[in-house]
């Protein structure tokens, strides 16, 4: 039995994988957080855990070459307050793209399990012409950006529905309308701003949701800012595989993480 376990562990260590180790500090104390992922078939198995909560999940993928890519996954959780879980779907094929997640956990735990209760998001986009994209998004109690953007405080506990229209003319401009506690407008800009192809991405919501999200991508390094009213915000930096983030949501926090990848 021990031999089998050892062989299993050896197999995992030899498989392509990554390990992300982090420290999260808030007024309550410092929490270590670990996430490990190993390639398995067309996807990966991952384990993540911190004091009070842990999860085991699988992320699968299907590549359609230049036509598109789909990723899907599921995770099960154990921890304080009881069991939890989430389902993921993300991808695009030809002119259609979708992103969705749906989950529940009785109690949140920062930084790896930030949502508490039910959370979900479904975003659909349709490329009507090469330069125009229509989008619709319904989201509740969860951030809208990928995990590299950080914890993105200010959207937990907020439900919203929005529609958008984006057009590309050198840069991409986005216009949209949404409803949350009240109606709001959406304005976006994304384009290259430097000679080396540095990208600036700005998204502003004003009205029922008041929020600015900004990303500056310099290549190896990237900067991420979120700022919401009622006041909450974060500033994150990625320097290669080192992530630094500081923010405020009710109280200040800081999160440092590093990712190792192999082979």
């Amino acid at each position: 039995m021990r031999k089998v376990a050892l062989l299993f562990l050896l197999g995992l260590a030899l498989a392509q994988g990554r390990l992300e180790a982090g420290l999260y500090g808030a007024p309550g104390g410092v929490t270590p957080a670990l996430e490990a992922a190993f390639a398995l078939g067309e996807g990966e198995v991952y384990l993540k855990g911190q004091v009070g909560r842990g999860a085991l999940g699988y992320l699968g993928s299907l590549s359609l070459g230049p036509l598109g890519y789909l990723a899907y996954g599921a995770q099960g959780e154990v921890g304080e307050g009881g069991l939890g879980g989430a389902l993921f779907l993300e991808g695009g094929a030809g002119p259609l793209a979708a992103e969705g997640r749906l989950g529940y956990r009785p109690q949140g735990a920062f930084p790896l399990f930030p949502e508490a209760g039910f959370f979900g998001r479904l975003a659909l986009r349709y490329r009507a012409t090469p330069r125009e994209v229509w989008g619709v998004e319904a989201a509740g109690n969860t951030p809208s950006r990928p995990a590299t953007f950080g914890l993105q405080p200010g959207l937990y506990g907020v439900w919203r529905l929005e529609g958008s229209y984006a057009f590309r003319q050198e840069a991409t401009y986005t216009l949209g309308l949404g409803v949350s506690s009240g109606p709001y407008a959406l304005l976006g800009f994304k384009g290259e701003v430097g000679e080396e192809g540095e990208v600036l991405d700005l998204l502003l919501r004003l009205g029922g949701v008041n929020r600015l999200e900004a990303g500056l991508y310099l290549g190896e390094a990237s900067l991420h800012l979120t700022l919401s009213y009622p006041w909450a915000g974060s500033l994150g930096v990625w320097l290669g595989d080192l992530g630094l983030e500081a923010g405020h949501q009710g109280s200040p926090y800081a999160w440092v993480r590093y990712t190792w990848r192999w082979p």
Binding site: G65, P66, L67, G92, L96, R127, S222
Partner: protein, 216 residues
């Protein structure tokens, strides 16, 4: 009147036979030598997509010595902005709509049932390893006389048969015709606007700095 088989005729026939028997390997070698310096071209034609026949237009950039190829899609509109980079060991697919760069090892990147893969377009040698080609004569194309190579694809290529036209005067591919088992055309692609170009590896590997990189 019967033609007497004089030694002269036999020699002439023999020489013709030799010319015709110019092997596929030799032709591919001529192409490889001719295309050893950086070049670019536009590939255009019809492709059998999931939703019927679609017009395809793509710009191909090649650095053959570095084993590096880039294919930028211009048509169909839903693929505009997408590109594929083929390196020695990997295939990168950039998807404009989701802003993702999917990086796969070459052996994993073969996608079945999609008609054809664009990798072979820029890398003839790699293509010939997946298709057993033979010389099936010559044909006059608008660009000039061309060799016609035909062959059966090895299993799992997404197509069953390939016809390939190579310009004789300047040995390079002019037309690719991919067919399925029933002889239906999966893709008919012509190479136009061919030119030598000064290209660098970093130009060919360029992708948006905000793209989400996914390794699979």
């Amino acid at each position: 009147m019967s033609v007497r088989r004089s030694p002269f005729w036999i020699l002439a026939l023999g020489l013709m036979g030799l010319t015709l028997a110019q092997s596929v390997a030799e032709i591919l070698e001529l192409v490889e030598k001719n295309l050893a310096s950086p070049w670019q071209a536009v590939v255009q034609g019809q492709v059998q997509g999931p939703s019927g026949t679609e017009n395809l237009q793509a710009r191909v950039y090649a650095l053959p010595k570095e084993n590096l190829y880039r294919i930028e899609f211009l048509k169909p509109g839903s693929l505009e902005g997408n590109f594929t980079v083929v390196t020695e060991k990997e295939v990168w697919n950039y998807l404009y709509l989701t802003n993702q760069l999917i990086i796969s090892p070459k052996e994993k990147a073969q996608v079945q049932g999609l008609g054809f893969s664009p990798q072979g377009l820029g890398d003839l040698k790699a293509l010939s390893e997946r298709v057993s080609l033979r010389l099936a004569g010559e044909e006059r194309l608008p660009e000039g006389p061309a060799w016609r190579l035909v062959g059966q694809a090895k299993e799992g290529q997404g197509f069953a048969r390939l016809e390939l036209y190579i310009l004789k005067a300047d040995p390079r591919p002019l037309r690719f015709l991919f067919l399925d088992e029933a002889g239906k055309v999966l893709a008919d692609l012509k190479v136009v606007e061919f030119k030598r170009a000064s290209l660098t590896p970093s130009q060919l590997k360029r992708y948006p700095k905000d793209a989400q990189v996914v390794r699979r």
